[in-house]
């Protein structure tokens, strides 16, 4: 069974007197352990699809199954609990909570899992080590560089060991050198920790690190390229 099954998903918005449909009867499957990159022009529906799979948006029609559960039928509260246990979300703009330190930002998802303070501390320290930010644990977001903030964002997404990590243009706000570091980190999550990743990107070079590359045009997948090796 695939980890993610998107079945006949349509998403429509009403903007003024216009009906916009970024996704039309889209189908997609993502296998466990895959790293899928999703490309497409602005408005092609790639971020909409990512948000639907992450459970922060609802489709107009169709259904999405993640690990056998039909998340599109969940109530708002159940969907939130499901996200806490199953999804790690990496944002383009990092979106760290400014009043919390790097440690506290990473700890946030664990607060929802009912772990003891000692267990939380242990897991946060492992995540900080994974993103090489142990020495920045007590720093606030304003005291970190853009790349460091994104690494904290990645640590926050992975700390609860989610079923799926989704990344919405994770390098879109970073310079070339930092982009390389972040992409390498994402690749390690997939290859070393076996995590399943779904990444939206505008950057063809960034898409190359994925094990499968998809292109969306006007709400429909037009290309799917399996990759056997990493990028050159």
């Amino acid at each position: 069974m695939s980890l993610v099954e998107v079945q006949q998903i349509t998403k429509e918005y009403v903007k003024g007197d216009q009906k916009i449909a970024p996704l039309k009867d889209a189908d997609l499957t993502v296998e466990r352990g895959e790293f899928v990159s999703l490309m497409g022009a602005s408005g092609s529906g790639k971020s909409t699809l990512l948000n639907l799979i992450a459970g922060i948006d609802r489709p107009t029609s169709g259904q999405i199954l993640v690990d056998g559960e039909v998340i599109t039928q969940f109530s708002r509260t159940r969907l939130a609990r499901w996200r806490a246990e199953n999804v790690g979300y990496i944002f383009q703009m990092h979106n760290l909570v400014p009043v919390l330190t790097a440690f506290e930002n990473i700890e946030l998802p664990l607060l929802l899992l009912g772990l003891s303070a000692r267990d939380r501390e242990k897991r946060v320290n492992i995540a900080l080590e994974a993103v090489s930010l142990t020495d920045r644990a007590d720093h606030y977001p304003r005291q970190l560089s853009g790349g460091q903030e994104q690494r904290v964002g990645i640590a926050r997404a992975m700390v609860a060991n989610p079923t799926l990590i989704v990344a919405d243009e994770p390098t879109g706000d970073l310079d070339a050198e930092t982009t390389e570091q972040i992409l390498a980190l994402l690749q390690r999550l997939n290859t070393e920790l076996g995590m399943t990743l779904l990444m939206v990107t505008h950057d063809p070079n960034a898409a190359l690190i994925a094990t499968r590359r998809l292109r969306l045009e006007k709400g429909v997948f037009v290309e799917s390229t399996p990759v056997t090796a990493g990028r050159i």
Partner: protein, 380 residues
């Protein structure tokens, strides 16, 4: 939810100027609210004192201030022999101000031997024998002693009257603690008072079986054609009539108290709404991580509750501390209303703060909890 408290507190601290201004405004309003509450409590205490329907006050008819009432002292002897009466005590009243004032000093002159039996006072310092033996001795209520910084052995003057303080007392009746008791004869001879052989009022103690209204009528009928006509009422009715104008004024202050609470509501609600508008994206991020709408609702209610409670704690605490140290009493025509700190004032102040905090947070918290995540994430 305890593990989220640091987040709530840090969020408030992030906008510390705004938070501190809101806390200050709340504190000032709750200070006024508690002070108004103390005035109301003082008046209620005075008017609902137990036993005051078992005492009568006999005054000269048509008096408008204690100084205009001069009853022959021997009325007491005759009244005490009427049926249903345990005792009648002549009392000379002397005060520095007959009008409503916050710094009235009221002297009551009683026969020294009777003071102990008619007034529920307990000496804190000094001794009864010195009071009974020394002609110009006075027993001072501890509220006056605190306010005027008086101690035993000290001489104390108001106008042409000078007394030596023989003791400081506490009383189960709050207003009593703002009184000064001295000898009847000494007070009658105060220069300029021209009160020898007279008393301002008679306090009549009734038997358990006596009918207060009938006895009052009996006394007034007795002196209707006498040298000085009397007007007799139960102590409660006498006090209610004397402070009648103040009752209306204090009634009006209830609106002031209500206005303070509404002001706190507006202030805390505005701060909470601003806090929510500043963090639309942050709340969306939290929901993306897995926090439910109820978590967000609780965080915002928590913030509004903390601001309101800290303000309430500061305002109510300051008001109670000032009431405790200042021993304020409002006096009019020799009747004193003591403003005292009390547990009920503290509970009322903090409960009002908590309720206002909850109410102020509900609308913004609901709005934030129900907002859609994706549009909120795009919010700049």
């Amino acid at each position: 939810m305890l593990r989220y408290i640091p987040y709530v507190l840090k969020t408030l601290w992030r906008h510390r100027t705004r938070t501190l201004l809101t806390v200050s405004g709340t504190a000032v309003a709750m200070f006024v609210f508690s002070f108004v509450g103390a005035v109301q409590e003082g008046l209620d205490r005075l008017l609902n004192e137990q036993q005051q329907d078992r005492s009568l006050i006999v005054f000269q008819a048509n008096r408008f201030c204690p100084s205009t009432s001069k009853l022959p002292e021997d009325y007491a002897l005759r009244i005490s022999k009427l049926p249903g009466i345990k005792d009648a005590v002549p009392i000379q009243v002397y005060m520095n101000n007959c009008r409503a004032s916050l710094d009235v000093v009221v002297f009551n002159g009683l026969p020294a031997k009777k003071l102990r039996s008619v007034r529920p006072i307990v000496l804190q310092t000094g001794d009864w024998s010195q009071f009974e033996q020394q002609r110009d001795a006075a027993l001072v209520g501890q509220a006056v002693a605190r306010r005027r910084k008086l101690s035993v052995g000290q001489k104390f003057s108001i106008g042409s009257l000078t007394v030596t303080i023989a003791g400081i007392f506490a009383s189960a009746v709050a207003a009593e603690e703002s009184m000064i008791y001295t000898h009847l004869e000494f007070l009658q001879r105060t220069p300029g008072l021209h009160a020898v052989g007279t008393a301002t009022q008679m306090e009549v103690l009734l038997d358990e079986s006596a009918d207060a209204q009938a006895t009052s009528k009996l006394i007034d009928d007795l002196y209707r054609a006498g040298p000085v006509a009397t007007n007799t009422r139960t102590k409660g009715a006498f006090q209610a009539k004397t402070v009648g104008d103040l009752v209306e004024l204090v009634g009006f202050t209830r609106y002031l108290g209500l206005a303070c609470v509404l002001m706190v509501l507006g202030l805390v609600a505005t701060t909470t709404v601003m806090g929510v508008q500043d963090r639309i994206r942050e709340h969306a991020v939290l929901q993306t991580i897995g926090f439910t709408g109820w978590h967000i609702f609780a965080f915002i209610i928590g913030e509004s509750l903390v601001v309101s409670l800290i303000g309430g704690l500061l305002g109510t605490g300051t008001a109670l501390a000032i009431l405790q140290t200042s021993s304020l009493a409002l006096g009019t025509e020799g009747i004193l209303i003591a403003f005292l700190p009390s547990a009920s004032l503290a509970v009322t102040g903090l409960t009002a703060s908590a309720l206002v905090g909850l109410l102020a947070g509900i609308a913004p918290a609901w709005q934030a909890a129900r907002s859609e995540i994706v549009p909120a994430l795009r919010f700049a």
